[in-house]
Symmetry: C2
Subunit: 243 residues, 2 copies
């Protein structure tokens, strides 16, 4: 069943209306009267709706009772990725959303060669949030992960340690595995931090330890900066019993 995210205001009442981009998307899907779709408030609530009318720019719906989404994972994983070149962050937003991330956060680090300036950042954030929304619809999520940007590295560290577990992955770490970290602490929320193309500086790893993060390995192979966060996220979802 096709899935549409609407604002909390558009979500209440027995008769709902899809407008704007949602209506356009419904047109593309050739929705017809009598078909059923799912409407989500983006916060984990959803309703099955029956299309009652399709007209220019709007699709009218008759909504059933509100249900709690069953596709949201029990664990809240925050994926922190250092700014990287090209469209790697967009790739990670799409895949992390499918894999169940709670939120996806870009942060600057010493060896980042590509940081968007203030001016382009606003547009990029809008675009990134749309990628998350689209991936959430396609993968059947009950909420759209927030996409955030940290102003500096310290801000990322301070925010990350508010999770039950905050883990930084570093290619020179040999002994502490992700499994050790996950099995030593009961967790409901986890922050996963990974570096840019050139890796993190050892000074930055020291700062993370001082801030209270654990430093872990993702194995002996060197993962690309867009592979590491998805590998770690998959492992946490597996460990927490999602599949």
């Amino acid at each position: 069943m096709a899935r549409f995210f609407v604002t909390p205001e558009e979500f209440s009442g027995d008769f709902l209306v899809l407008t704007g981009e949602n209506a356009a998307h419904g047109k593309v899907l050739r929705l017809r009267s009598g078909e059923e779709i799912i409407i989500c408030d983006g916060c984990g609530n959803e309703r099955v709706c029956t299309v009652s009318d399709v007209s220019d720019g709007q699709i009218s719906l008759v909504a059933k009772a509100v249900e709690h989404s069953i596709t949201e994972p029990a664990v809240q994983v925050s994926v922190y990725m250092a700014f990287s070149k090209g469209d790697k962050f967009e790739h990670v937003i799409q895949k992390s959303t499918e894999l169940g991330a709670y939120e996806i956060i870009a942060f600057p680090s010493a060896r980042c060669v590509s940081k968007p300036d203030e001016k382009s950042l606003k547009k990029k954030l809008e675009r990134w949030q749309k990628i998350a929304a689209s991936a959430a619809e396609q993968s059947g999520r009950g909420r759209v992960p927030g996409v955030l940007v940290m102003g500096n590295y310290q801000e990322a560290l301070s925010r990350a340690v508010s999770s039950d577990l905050a883990i930084l992955f570093y290619e020179n770490e040999r002994s502490t595995t992700l499994k050790m970290a996950l099995q030593n602490t009961p967790y409901h929320s986890v922050s996963l931090l990974t570096g840019p193309e050139g890796g993190l500086e050892s000074r930055e790893v020291g700062e993370a330890v001082s801030a209270g993060l654990q430093v872990c390995t993702l194995g002996t192979r060197i993962l690309r900066c867009e592979t590491a966060p998805l590998c770690a996220l998959s492992a946490v979802m597996y460990d927490s019993g999602e599949f």
Copy 2:
């Protein structure tokens, strides 16, 4: 240290020579006399070598003792992915290699909309094997995963069940998780099968069960056909103690 894969013949002796694409690659990296690199035979053996001379089309090396690669995982994972559109298989080859896959295998299934014909297949296989070799070099692997193509679905199933564990992922499976499958059987080799964009037909899932595969879920969210194999591979590597 830069890493080069050579043939077993080029690997023996105290004085080695890089030629062809390896020499060209060394030129790109601006290798100079005195620098150290790693030479791999692609079968899990490697040697640290010192560059002794760089000339047109060849790089001469003085080789140290043969060592066993420490970056190859203990578990042998075969990633079977149904033929898919665009460059998704190439993406999966690159990422699976980084993540430690033993081999990567494309197979046809009923809803595959894109199957290369006999004529283009040979060229594609060469290209795919190069992607694996390049990813193996970059990620520091000790061997290059084989890239194979199965002629039909049954062939994929028959081959897969020769592993200690053969698992097919199906979005309509609700109860059996990957964790259940991995924790019920000691494993040294695992085959992971995932379907194409349109999913597997229920008839095909039945055939897999008849052939001896287990059917598992990857969670309640719908993963894209290029996300599912990498998620499953990451989880198996995690479960087997790689990180």
